[in-house]
């Protein structure tokens, strides 16, 4: 128990509860099932991408091309499946998309490992290349053409709850995928040689190499998984939107990395956890929803979110500053 209490993730959890309390104190309407459902629904795709980011960060690399992989693989999947005359639901989308995502991740990983260039550098060019490819060669407009099985995806619910006023709130299906992927990631990081290898090469690459971890193969696999997770997030997001967007997630790359870092991952590698990613994304969602509940006008919301982030980040450094003063 004491081990759990001392973790960063636990501190973040407490901060999250405290923060929700403040919002709920000002606006009691914040405490409702629909708020929880809302936050969960909004967190799904960012958390799934966040897991990919986590894996890459753990290995001591940084990738920002995952947003473009999400956009390209889902847009291409939709075009391909429509041309096949596919009429079913999302399952086939996830499978075909995952193949695209894996291939795109593999291509990136091969450039990184064959030429020994830091992933961050390659992914900078890779992102702009992939978005350019999608927009120029595949299509530059929203694609509202969906197979019949997918047209009502946004209204496929896992649970429906009636609140006291008779209105119905519901939780979307993708939350289930998130749960499955989260458990799979947790097992992968904790119980496989690959997972332990990620922490090892992120913590001290030279030492891991000497012990015998295949550094290049681990990075390659990390980027492939990153691509697969991005494609899943892309397909879920597009299917929930009801249209396929070639610029999906564009400009959100750094935000997702920031969520993962807020969740306790280190940008230098070797530190981070699955639960941290979940908490990091939820923290931002609560912040976003909080400013709306507080009744702050739309023009001022961004400023308040930014200030809250600055204050939260500054507060998180307090313990180490106090320690320094004590010494």
């Amino acid at each position: 128990m004491e081990r759990v209490v001392k973790t960063y993730e636990f501190a973040l959890f407490i901060a999250l509860i405290g923060f929700s309390m403040v919002i709920g104190f000002v606006k009691p309407a914040f405490f409702s099932i629909s708020t929880i459902f809302n936050i969960l629904d909004n967190s799904v795709t960012y958390t799934i991408m966040g897991f990919g980011v986590l894996i890459v960060l753990l290995s001591g690399e940084i990738d920002i091309s995952f947003v473009a992989i999400a956009a390209l693989s889902s847009y291409a999947t939709n075009m391909l499946l429509l041309s096949w005359g596919y009429t079913g639901g999302i399952s086939f989308y996830l499978i075909i998309g995952a193949i695209f995502g894996a291939l795109l991740g593999l291509a990136e990983g091969l450039i990184v490992t064959k030429f020994n260039i830091p992933t961050f550098f390659v992914s900078l060019g890779y992102q702009i290349l992939l978005y350019g490819f999608t927009l120029f060669f595949l299509g530059s407009t929203y694609n509202f053409n969906l197979p019949p099985g997918l047209t009502n995806y946004y209204s496929e619910f896992l649970i429906r709850v009636k609140n006291p006023f008779g209105a119905e709130t519901s939780l979307n299906v993708p939350v289930l995928y998130l749960l499955i992927i989260a458990i799979a990631m947790w097992l992968l990081l904790r119980y496989t040689l690959f997972g332990r290898g990620l922490y090892a090469i992120g913590g001290d690459r030279e030492a891991a190499k000497r012990v015998g971890f295949p550094v290049k193969r681990i990075i390659l696999l990390a980027l492939i998984i990153n691509g697969i997770l991005a494609s899943i997030a892309g397909n879920i997001q597009n299917a929930s939107n009801g249209y396929f967007d070639p610029t999906l997630f564009r400009g959100n790359d750094l935000n997702v990395i920031a969520y993962v870092i807020i969740g306790g991952a280190s940008i230098l590698g070797g530190r981070g956890s699955v639960i941290g990613v979940v908490l990091g994304v939820i923290f931002i969602q609560v912040l976003d929803l909080g400013v709306i509940y507080m009744g702050i006008s739309a023009d001022w919301q961004q400023l308040f979110i930014g200030l809250a982030l600055v204050i939260a980040l500054s507060a998180s450094t307090l313990p180490s500053i106090l320690r320094r003063i004590q010494e």
Binding site: G60, I111, P118, G125, L303, S320
Partner: protein, 339 residues
């Protein structure tokens, strides 16, 4: 995260012998210019070169500012939104306050506008430097937070609308020329030289290289690491502000979301292509990388002018060339190591 090249001859040493990356960048630049000049005879017309010289600096200045932050093993994601904010504040001054007292004298009111923009840039840099240097928050999230703050301030002030109807004289900054060279390009050139002098010949430059390569060793050798970080981020954001002024003058408007998402990425592309790594950076590389990107975008825009979505192809080509040059530089360095 980013490994230093073992045989890196940038920074300290590149004045002694030009390194291989600089040669590759020059070759690529000349080859691209010759290709586009050969395919399209309008490429080398005076008008096109003039347009390129006006457009390149806004990207180049941000690339230069980004390069400084990368040299400290950090990153300045707030540079674009800081630029928008400083353009906005100085723009508000130019529209609302300048006519009251400076009204008649154009030179003075535009001069004060530029000074205000630089002042806002200094304030932005102060906040970044404080969070990163003094509170020791990781640069990537600290500047992401300030990026949201800066764009939030701009949005709150303008209510999400863009600011237009500047006095006609403001356009002098982007359309004027001294001795045939457009003023934006002169500003860019001046800044490249100033940053070069700072990095090579001042104690701040030496300290940046020390802190970038090993902050702990720098701390123990008596360098005020926090102050160095503060000063560097101020410089970085001021370079962004200059870019903001040029954009304001060129587009004759200020929008709080101008360039959001794409400009940060381009600034990063330029400084990485220039070979900037923690502790090392060549301003000449930043200059060359900026020109390569400008030649590519201008060239493909001409070539594909009739085609739908030619700017998307430009993005695509940027990505290809960027990765291609990284690979070539890497292979060349391997060969150089062997010999």
């Amino acid at each position: 995260m980013k490994k230093l090249h073992k045989n890196s001859k940038q920074g300290f040493f590149w004045k002694k012998d030009i390194d291989i990356r600089t040669i590759i960048l020059i070759v690529v630049l000349v080859a691209l210019a010759m290709f586009f000049g050969f395919v399209d005879k309008f490429f080398f017309t005076f008008k096109n070169i003039d347009v390129m010289a006006i457009l390149a600096p806004e990207m180049g200045l941000m690339g230069l500012g980004m390069a400084l932050s990368l040299m400290l093993n950090g990153v300045n994601l707030s540079i674009n939104n800081g630029a928008n904010l400083s353009a906005l504040i100085s723009g508000l001054f130019l529209i609302n306050i300048a006519p009251i007292f400076g009204g008649g004298n154009v030179v003075i009111s535009i001069g004060i506008t530029v000074i205000i923009a630089i002042g806002v840039g200094i304030l932005c840099g102060l906040l970044n430097g404080f969070l990163i240097g003094y509170l020791k928050i990781q640069a990537i999230i600290a500047t992401l937070a300030t990026m949201i703050v800066f764009s939030g301030i701009s949005e709150a002030i303008t209510g999400g609308k863009s600011l237009t109807n500047f006095p006609h004289e403001l356009q002098v900054i982007s359309t004027g020329a001294i001795g045939g060279i457009p003023i934006p390009f002169l500003i860019f050139l001046a800044m490249v030289i100033i940053v070069y002098i700072i990095l090579e010949f001042t104690s701040l430059g030496f300290e940046i290289q020390m802190v970038g390569t090993n902050p702990i060793a720098a701390q123990f050798s008596g360098i005020n690491v926090r102050l160095v970080i503060m000063e560097t981020y101020i410089l970085s954001n001021v370079l962004g502000s200059l870019s903001g002024i040029i954009v304001m003058s060129f587009t004759n408007s200020v929008s709080y979301e101008y360039g959001t998402g794409t400009y940060i990425l381009l600034a990063l592309l330029i400084s990485v292509l220039a070979g900037v790594t923690p502790g090392f950076g060549s301003t000449l590389g930043v200059f060359l990388a900026t020109l390569i990107f400008e030649v590519l975008s201008s060239g493909f825009q001409m070539l594909l002018s009739g085609l739908n979505g030619s700017s998307f192809f430009t993005d695509f080509s940027w990505g290809i060339f960027f990765i291609g040059i990284l690979i070539i530089v890497n292979l060349a360095q391997k060969v150089q190591n062997r010999t």
